[in-house]
Subunit: 205 residues, 2 copies
Protein backbone atom coordinates (compact mmCIF):
# COMPACT_ATOMS: atom_id res chain seq x y z
CA UNK A 1 0.00 0.00 0.00
CA UNK A 2 2.41 2.66 -1.29
CA UNK A 3 2.03 6.29 -0.28
CA UNK A 4 -0.51 5.50 2.41
CA UNK A 5 0.09 8.12 5.06
CA UNK A 6 -2.36 6.81 7.62
CA UNK A 7 -1.39 3.61 9.35
CA UNK A 8 -3.71 1.16 11.09
CA UNK A 9 -6.47 1.35 8.50
CA UNK A 10 -7.97 -1.86 7.19
CA UNK A 11 -10.37 -2.43 4.34
CA UNK A 12 -13.93 -3.04 5.53
CA UNK A 13 -15.69 -5.12 2.91
CA UNK A 14 -19.34 -4.50 2.10
CA UNK A 15 -22.03 -7.13 1.79
CA UNK A 16 -23.40 -5.76 -1.49
CA UNK A 17 -21.09 -6.70 -4.36
CA UNK A 18 -20.74 -4.89 -7.64
CA UNK A 19 -22.41 -7.88 -9.30
CA UNK A 20 -25.37 -7.52 -6.89
CA UNK A 21 -25.67 -3.88 -7.88
CA UNK A 22 -25.59 -4.69 -11.60
CA UNK A 23 -28.26 -7.34 -11.13
CA UNK A 24 -30.55 -4.77 -9.54
CA UNK A 25 -29.80 -1.73 -11.72
CA UNK A 26 -29.79 -3.77 -14.93
CA UNK A 27 -26.57 -2.30 -16.27
CA UNK A 28 -22.84 -2.46 -15.70
CA UNK A 29 -21.09 0.52 -14.22
CA UNK A 30 -18.06 2.30 -15.62
CA UNK A 31 -16.45 5.69 -15.96
CA UNK A 32 -16.73 7.48 -19.29
CA UNK A 33 -13.64 9.64 -18.92
CA UNK A 34 -13.89 12.58 -21.35
CA UNK A 35 -10.68 14.43 -22.09
CA UNK A 36 -10.04 17.30 -24.50
CA UNK A 37 -9.06 20.93 -24.92
CA UNK A 38 -10.96 23.72 -23.18
CA UNK A 39 -14.16 24.43 -25.16
CA UNK A 40 -13.92 21.12 -27.03
CA UNK A 41 -17.43 20.30 -25.78
CA UNK A 42 -16.78 17.88 -22.89
CA UNK A 43 -19.28 19.30 -20.40
CA UNK A 44 -21.97 19.78 -23.05
CA UNK A 45 -21.56 16.18 -24.24
CA UNK A 46 -21.42 14.89 -20.66
CA UNK A 47 -24.76 16.39 -19.63
CA UNK A 48 -26.37 15.28 -22.91
CA UNK A 49 -25.05 11.75 -22.36
CA UNK A 50 -26.29 11.74 -18.75
CA UNK A 51 -29.76 12.73 -19.98
CA UNK A 52 -29.74 10.06 -22.72
CA UNK A 53 -28.75 7.41 -20.16
CA UNK A 54 -31.45 8.41 -17.65
CA UNK A 55 -33.99 8.22 -20.47
CA UNK A 56 -33.05 4.55 -20.60
CA UNK A 57 -33.44 4.23 -16.80
CA UNK A 58 -29.68 4.01 -16.42
CA UNK A 59 -28.25 5.54 -13.27
CA UNK A 60 -25.71 8.06 -14.56
CA UNK A 61 -23.91 11.00 -13.01
CA UNK A 62 -21.66 13.74 -14.32
CA UNK A 63 -18.53 14.80 -12.52
CA UNK A 64 -17.65 18.10 -14.11
CA UNK A 65 -14.32 19.91 -13.90
CA UNK A 66 -15.81 23.26 -13.06
CA UNK A 67 -18.32 21.81 -10.60
CA UNK A 68 -15.75 19.78 -8.69
CA UNK A 69 -13.50 22.80 -8.42
CA UNK A 70 -16.30 24.56 -6.49
CA UNK A 71 -16.35 21.80 -3.89
CA UNK A 72 -13.97 18.88 -3.40
CA UNK A 73 -11.04 20.54 -5.14
CA UNK A 74 -11.61 24.18 -4.32
CA UNK A 75 -8.21 24.24 -2.60
CA UNK A 76 -6.42 23.47 -5.89
CA UNK A 77 -5.22 25.76 -8.68
CA UNK A 78 -3.76 25.08 -12.12
CA UNK A 79 -0.08 24.42 -11.49
CA UNK A 80 1.14 21.02 -12.77
CA UNK A 81 1.14 19.70 -9.15
CA UNK A 82 -2.38 20.94 -8.48
CA UNK A 83 -3.66 19.58 -11.80
CA UNK A 84 -2.11 16.25 -10.88
CA UNK A 85 -3.82 16.21 -7.46
CA UNK A 86 -7.07 17.43 -9.05
CA UNK A 87 -7.14 14.45 -11.41
CA UNK A 88 -5.96 12.03 -8.71
CA UNK A 89 -8.88 12.94 -6.42
CA UNK A 90 -11.39 12.91 -9.25
CA UNK A 91 -10.14 9.50 -10.32
CA UNK A 92 -10.72 8.20 -6.80
CA UNK A 93 -14.23 9.67 -6.73
CA UNK A 94 -14.96 8.22 -10.18
CA UNK A 95 -13.84 4.85 -8.86
CA UNK A 96 -16.23 5.17 -5.88
CA UNK A 97 -19.15 5.98 -8.21
CA UNK A 98 -18.25 3.07 -10.47
CA UNK A 99 -18.08 0.75 -7.47
CA UNK A 100 -21.47 2.12 -6.39
CA UNK A 101 -23.05 0.91 -9.64
CA UNK A 102 -23.33 4.27 -11.38
CA UNK A 103 -22.25 5.09 -14.95
CA UNK A 104 -20.01 7.98 -14.16
CA UNK A 105 -19.31 10.60 -16.83
CA UNK A 106 -16.34 12.85 -16.15
CA UNK A 107 -15.64 16.05 -18.07
CA UNK A 108 -12.16 17.28 -17.27
CA UNK A 109 -9.47 18.67 -19.53
CA UNK A 110 -7.12 16.14 -17.86
CA UNK A 111 -4.29 17.21 -20.15
CA UNK A 112 -1.56 14.86 -18.96
CA UNK A 113 -1.43 11.30 -20.31
CA UNK A 114 0.29 10.06 -17.16
CA UNK A 115 -2.52 11.40 -14.93
CA UNK A 116 -5.17 9.67 -17.04
CA UNK A 117 -3.18 6.45 -17.06
CA UNK A 118 -2.96 6.58 -13.27
CA UNK A 119 -6.75 6.76 -13.07
CA UNK A 120 -7.03 3.86 -15.50
CA UNK A 121 -4.65 1.88 -13.29
CA UNK A 122 -6.77 2.20 -10.14
CA UNK A 123 -9.91 1.00 -11.95
CA UNK A 124 -10.87 -2.59 -12.68
CA UNK A 125 -10.67 -4.06 -16.19
CA UNK A 126 -13.16 -2.36 -18.53
CA UNK A 127 -14.20 0.21 -15.95
CA UNK A 128 -12.23 3.13 -17.42
CA UNK A 129 -13.42 4.22 -20.85
CA UNK A 130 -11.16 6.99 -22.11
CA UNK A 131 -13.19 9.18 -24.43
CA UNK A 132 -11.28 11.70 -26.51
CA UNK A 133 -13.39 14.75 -27.25
CA UNK A 134 -11.38 15.85 -30.27
CA UNK A 135 -11.65 19.36 -31.64
CA UNK A 136 -9.07 21.51 -33.41
CA UNK A 137 -7.47 24.25 -31.33
CA UNK A 138 -8.64 26.79 -33.95
CA UNK A 139 -12.26 25.73 -33.51
CA UNK A 140 -12.03 25.69 -29.67
CA UNK A 141 -10.55 29.16 -29.77
CA UNK A 142 -13.26 30.35 -32.17
CA UNK A 143 -16.00 29.07 -29.81
CA UNK A 144 -14.38 30.35 -26.58
CA UNK A 145 -17.75 30.45 -24.74
CA UNK A 146 -16.22 31.73 -21.51
CA UNK A 147 -13.68 34.08 -23.10
CA UNK A 148 -10.83 32.11 -21.55
CA UNK A 149 -8.73 31.70 -24.71
CA UNK A 150 -8.89 35.43 -25.28
CA UNK A 151 -7.75 36.11 -21.71
CA UNK A 152 -5.03 33.47 -22.01
CA UNK A 153 -3.71 35.04 -25.24
CA UNK A 154 -3.71 38.39 -23.45
CA UNK A 155 -1.70 36.86 -20.62
CA UNK A 156 -4.52 37.30 -18.11
CA UNK A 157 -4.82 33.56 -17.39
CA UNK A 158 -1.60 31.67 -16.79
CA UNK A 159 -1.01 28.00 -17.58
CA UNK A 160 -4.03 27.71 -19.87
CA UNK A 161 -4.21 24.37 -21.68
CA UNK A 162 -3.67 24.71 -25.43
CA UNK A 163 -2.15 28.18 -25.10
CA UNK A 164 0.41 28.24 -22.30
CA UNK A 165 0.13 24.70 -20.92
CA UNK A 166 0.37 21.42 -22.84
CA UNK A 167 -2.42 19.07 -23.89
CA UNK A 168 -1.39 15.47 -24.47
CA UNK A 169 -3.95 13.77 -26.70
CA UNK A 170 -4.81 10.13 -25.90
CA UNK A 171 -2.99 7.41 -27.79
CA UNK A 172 -5.30 4.57 -26.82
CA UNK A 173 -8.72 6.07 -26.20
CA UNK A 174 -11.56 3.56 -26.25
CA UNK A 175 -13.79 6.16 -27.95
CA UNK A 176 -13.04 9.25 -30.02
CA UNK A 177 -15.64 11.79 -31.07
CA UNK A 178 -14.98 14.87 -33.21
CA UNK A 179 -17.07 17.81 -32.09
CA UNK A 180 -15.72 20.02 -34.89
CA UNK A 181 -17.23 17.85 -37.59
CA UNK A 182 -19.95 15.69 -35.98
CA UNK A 183 -23.25 16.75 -34.44
CA UNK A 184 -23.87 16.37 -30.71
CA UNK A 185 -26.41 13.63 -31.47
CA UNK A 186 -23.84 11.74 -33.55
CA UNK A 187 -21.24 11.95 -30.78
CA UNK A 188 -23.75 10.67 -28.20
CA UNK A 189 -24.72 7.85 -30.54
CA UNK A 190 -21.08 6.81 -30.89
CA UNK A 191 -20.73 6.57 -27.10
CA UNK A 192 -24.05 4.77 -26.58
CA UNK A 193 -23.15 2.40 -29.42
CA UNK A 194 -19.90 1.53 -27.66
CA UNK A 195 -21.69 0.89 -24.36
CA UNK A 196 -24.22 -1.35 -26.10
CA UNK A 197 -21.67 -3.21 -28.18
CA UNK A 198 -19.48 -3.95 -25.15
CA UNK A 199 -22.45 -5.01 -23.03
CA UNK A 200 -22.42 -2.22 -20.43
CA UNK A 201 -26.04 -1.39 -21.22
CA UNK A 202 -28.80 -3.25 -23.02
CA UNK A 203 -29.38 -2.57 -26.69
CA UNK A 204 -32.38 -0.38 -27.23
CA UNK A 205 -35.21 -2.21 -28.97
CA UNK B 1 -17.61 31.73 -3.31
CA UNK B 2 -15.22 31.89 -0.38
CA UNK B 3 -11.93 29.99 -0.39
CA UNK B 4 -12.15 29.18 -4.08
CA UNK B 5 -8.56 29.03 -5.26
CA UNK B 6 -9.26 28.48 -8.94
CA UNK B 7 -10.64 31.46 -10.80
CA UNK B 8 -12.57 31.39 -14.06
CA UNK B 9 -14.66 28.36 -13.21
CA UNK B 10 -18.38 28.50 -13.79
CA UNK B 11 -21.07 26.05 -12.75
CA UNK B 12 -22.25 23.87 -15.61
CA UNK B 13 -25.82 22.81 -14.84
CA UNK B 14 -26.99 19.33 -15.74
CA UNK B 15 -30.23 18.48 -17.52
CA UNK B 16 -31.20 15.73 -15.07
CA UNK B 17 -32.51 17.27 -11.86
CA UNK B 18 -32.52 15.64 -8.46
CA UNK B 19 -36.32 15.42 -8.74
CA UNK B 20 -35.93 13.55 -12.06
CA UNK B 21 -33.60 11.12 -10.35
CA UNK B 22 -36.01 10.56 -7.46
CA UNK B 23 -38.86 9.95 -9.89
CA UNK B 24 -36.86 7.20 -11.59
CA UNK B 25 -35.21 5.58 -8.56
CA UNK B 26 -38.40 5.76 -6.47
CA UNK B 27 -36.71 7.17 -3.38
CA UNK B 28 -35.22 10.38 -2.10
CA UNK B 29 -31.50 10.63 -1.62
CA UNK B 30 -29.66 11.71 1.49
CA UNK B 31 -26.53 11.09 3.50
CA UNK B 32 -26.80 8.97 6.64
CA UNK B 33 -23.79 10.39 8.44
CA UNK B 34 -22.72 7.96 11.16
CA UNK B 35 -20.43 9.31 13.86
CA UNK B 36 -19.06 7.62 16.94
CA UNK B 37 -16.01 6.38 18.80
CA UNK B 38 -13.63 3.86 17.22
CA UNK B 39 -15.16 0.37 17.54
CA UNK B 40 -18.62 1.78 18.26
CA UNK B 41 -19.92 -0.22 15.30
CA UNK B 42 -20.24 2.41 12.55
CA UNK B 43 -18.82 0.36 9.67
CA UNK B 44 -20.68 -2.79 10.71
CA UNK B 45 -23.97 -0.90 10.87
CA UNK B 46 -23.23 0.92 7.61
CA UNK B 47 -22.74 -2.25 5.57
CA UNK B 48 -25.78 -3.88 7.20
CA UNK B 49 -27.87 -0.80 6.40
CA UNK B 50 -26.59 -0.77 2.80
CA UNK B 51 -27.64 -4.40 2.42
CA UNK B 52 -31.06 -3.75 3.94
CA UNK B 53 -31.60 -0.83 1.56
CA UNK B 54 -30.56 -2.81 -1.55
CA UNK B 55 -32.98 -5.54 -0.49
CA UNK B 56 -35.65 -2.87 -0.98
CA UNK B 57 -34.19 -1.93 -4.41
CA UNK B 58 -32.84 1.28 -2.97
CA UNK B 59 -29.60 2.51 -4.44
CA UNK B 60 -27.29 2.85 -1.45
CA UNK B 61 -23.56 3.16 -1.05
CA UNK B 62 -21.19 3.14 1.92
CA UNK B 63 -18.35 5.59 2.23
CA UNK B 64 -16.17 4.09 4.90
CA UNK B 65 -13.43 5.83 6.84
CA UNK B 66 -10.88 3.13 6.37
CA UNK B 67 -11.73 2.60 2.71
CA UNK B 68 -11.52 6.27 1.80
CA UNK B 69 -8.17 6.53 3.53
CA UNK B 70 -6.83 3.92 1.09
CA UNK B 71 -7.81 6.08 -1.88
CA UNK B 72 -9.04 9.66 -1.97
CA UNK B 73 -7.51 10.62 1.36
CA UNK B 74 -4.41 8.46 1.44
CA UNK B 75 -2.32 11.64 1.67
CA UNK B 76 -3.88 12.54 5.04
CA UNK B 77 -2.95 11.53 8.57
CA UNK B 78 -4.62 12.06 11.94
CA UNK B 79 -3.53 15.53 13.02
CA UNK B 80 -6.42 17.93 13.70
CA UNK B 81 -5.74 19.67 10.33
CA UNK B 82 -5.68 16.39 8.42
CA UNK B 83 -8.82 15.14 10.17
CA UNK B 84 -10.50 18.40 9.22
CA UNK B 85 -9.50 18.04 5.55
CA UNK B 86 -10.45 14.35 5.65
CA UNK B 87 -14.00 15.19 6.70
CA UNK B 88 -14.21 18.18 4.36
CA UNK B 89 -13.42 16.03 1.32
CA UNK B 90 -15.71 13.22 2.42
CA UNK B 91 -18.51 15.73 2.95
CA UNK B 92 -18.07 16.96 -0.60
CA UNK B 93 -18.12 13.39 -1.93
CA UNK B 94 -21.20 12.59 0.16
CA UNK B 95 -22.86 15.64 -1.35
CA UNK B 96 -22.02 14.42 -4.87
CA UNK B 97 -23.54 11.00 -4.12
CA UNK B 98 -26.64 12.62 -2.65
CA UNK B 99 -26.99 14.83 -5.72
CA UNK B 100 -26.58 11.71 -7.85
CA UNK B 101 -29.68 10.15 -6.26
CA UNK B 102 -27.94 7.65 -4.00
CA UNK B 103 -28.61 7.06 -0.30
CA UNK B 104 -25.12 7.54 0.95
CA UNK B 105 -24.06 5.95 4.25
CA UNK B 106 -20.87 7.32 5.74
CA UNK B 107 -18.99 5.65 8.56
CA UNK B 108 -16.36 8.01 9.94
CA UNK B 109 -15.37 8.77 13.49
CA UNK B 110 -15.74 12.47 12.53
CA UNK B 111 -14.97 13.50 16.11
CA UNK B 112 -15.30 17.28 15.78
CA UNK B 113 -18.73 18.87 15.95
CA UNK B 114 -17.60 21.81 13.82
CA UNK B 115 -16.48 19.49 11.00
CA UNK B 116 -19.81 17.68 10.98
CA UNK B 117 -21.70 20.97 11.04
CA UNK B 118 -19.69 22.16 8.05
CA UNK B 119 -20.80 19.10 6.10
CA UNK B 120 -24.41 19.72 7.16
CA UNK B 121 -24.07 23.30 5.93
CA UNK B 122 -23.06 22.33 2.37
CA UNK B 123 -26.00 19.94 2.03
CA UNK B 124 -29.57 20.86 1.14
CA UNK B 125 -32.37 20.80 3.75
CA UNK B 126 -33.03 17.26 4.97
CA UNK B 127 -30.10 15.79 3.05
CA UNK B 128 -27.77 15.40 6.04
CA UNK B 129 -28.98 12.89 8.62
CA UNK B 130 -26.57 12.87 11.54
CA UNK B 131 -26.65 9.43 13.11
CA UNK B 132 -24.95 9.03 16.46
CA UNK B 133 -23.63 5.52 16.92
CA UNK B 134 -23.47 5.68 20.69
CA UNK B 135 -21.42 3.22 22.68
CA UNK B 136 -19.62 3.65 25.99
CA UNK B 137 -15.87 4.05 25.83
CA UNK B 138 -15.52 1.03 28.13
CA UNK B 139 -17.44 -1.17 25.74
CA UNK B 140 -15.56 0.13 22.66
CA UNK B 141 -12.29 -0.58 24.43
CA UNK B 142 -13.47 -4.04 25.45
CA UNK B 143 -14.34 -4.88 21.81
CA UNK B 144 -11.19 -3.35 20.27
CA UNK B 145 -11.42 -5.56 17.14
CA UNK B 146 -8.29 -4.13 15.55
CA UNK B 147 -6.27 -3.78 18.76
CA UNK B 148 -6.07 -0.01 18.31
CA UNK B 149 -7.17 0.98 21.81
CA UNK B 150 -4.51 -1.29 23.25
CA UNK B 151 -1.86 0.29 21.04
CA UNK B 152 -3.13 3.77 21.86
CA UNK B 153 -2.95 3.07 25.62
CA UNK B 154 0.59 1.81 25.08
CA UNK B 155 1.45 5.04 23.27
CA UNK B 156 2.00 3.25 19.94
CA UNK B 157 -0.76 5.18 18.16
CA UNK B 158 -0.83 8.95 18.66
CA UNK B 159 -3.93 11.14 18.59
CA UNK B 160 -6.33 8.23 18.95
CA UNK B 161 -9.94 9.33 19.42
CA UNK B 162 -11.28 8.51 22.89
CA UNK B 163 -7.80 7.99 24.33
CA UNK B 164 -5.50 10.81 23.25
CA UNK B 165 -7.76 12.84 20.99
CA UNK B 166 -11.23 14.22 21.76
CA UNK B 167 -14.61 12.95 20.62
CA UNK B 168 -17.41 15.51 20.60
CA UNK B 169 -20.75 13.74 20.73
CA UNK B 170 -23.59 15.19 18.62
CA UNK B 171 -26.02 17.56 20.29
CA UNK B 172 -28.65 17.50 17.59
CA UNK B 173 -28.38 14.15 15.83
CA UNK B 174 -31.43 13.19 13.81
CA UNK B 175 -30.97 9.56 14.87
CA UNK B 176 -29.24 7.92 17.84
CA UNK B 177 -28.63 4.20 18.15
CA UNK B 178 -26.96 2.49 21.11
CA UNK B 179 -24.82 -0.42 20.00
CA UNK B 180 -23.92 -1.29 23.59
CA UNK B 181 -27.49 -2.13 24.50
CA UNK B 182 -29.41 -2.70 21.24
CA UNK B 183 -29.02 -5.46 18.67
CA UNK B 184 -27.75 -4.68 15.18
CA UNK B 185 -31.22 -5.48 13.81
CA UNK B 186 -32.82 -3.02 16.23
CA UNK B 187 -30.38 -0.27 15.26
CA UNK B 188 -31.05 -0.86 11.55
CA UNK B 189 -34.80 -0.81 12.21
CA UNK B 190 -34.48 2.55 13.98
CA UNK B 191 -32.73 4.03 10.95
CA UNK B 192 -35.10 2.50 8.39
CA UNK B 193 -38.04 3.66 10.51
CA UNK B 194 -36.73 7.21 10.39
CA UNK B 195 -36.30 7.06 6.60
CA UNK B 196 -39.83 5.73 6.19
CA UNK B 197 -41.40 8.18 8.60
CA UNK B 198 -39.76 11.17 6.95
CA UNK B 199 -40.66 9.96 3.47
CA UNK B 200 -37.17 9.25 2.11
CA UNK B 201 -38.17 5.69 1.26
CA UNK B 202 -41.52 3.95 0.89
CA UNK B 203 -42.93 2.08 3.86
CA UNK B 204 -42.54 -1.62 3.45
CA UNK B 205 -45.84 -3.41 2.96
Amino acid sequence: MANLKSKNVVWHPGMVTQADREAITGHKSCTIWMTGLPASGKSTLAVALEKALWERDIHAFVLDGDNVRHGLNKDLGFSPEDRNENIRRIGEVAKLFTTAGVINVTAFISPYRADRDRVRAIMGPGEFIETFVACSLDECERRDPKGHYKKARAGEIAEFTGVSAPYEAPEKAEITVHTDRESEAACIQTILGYLEQKGYVARRE
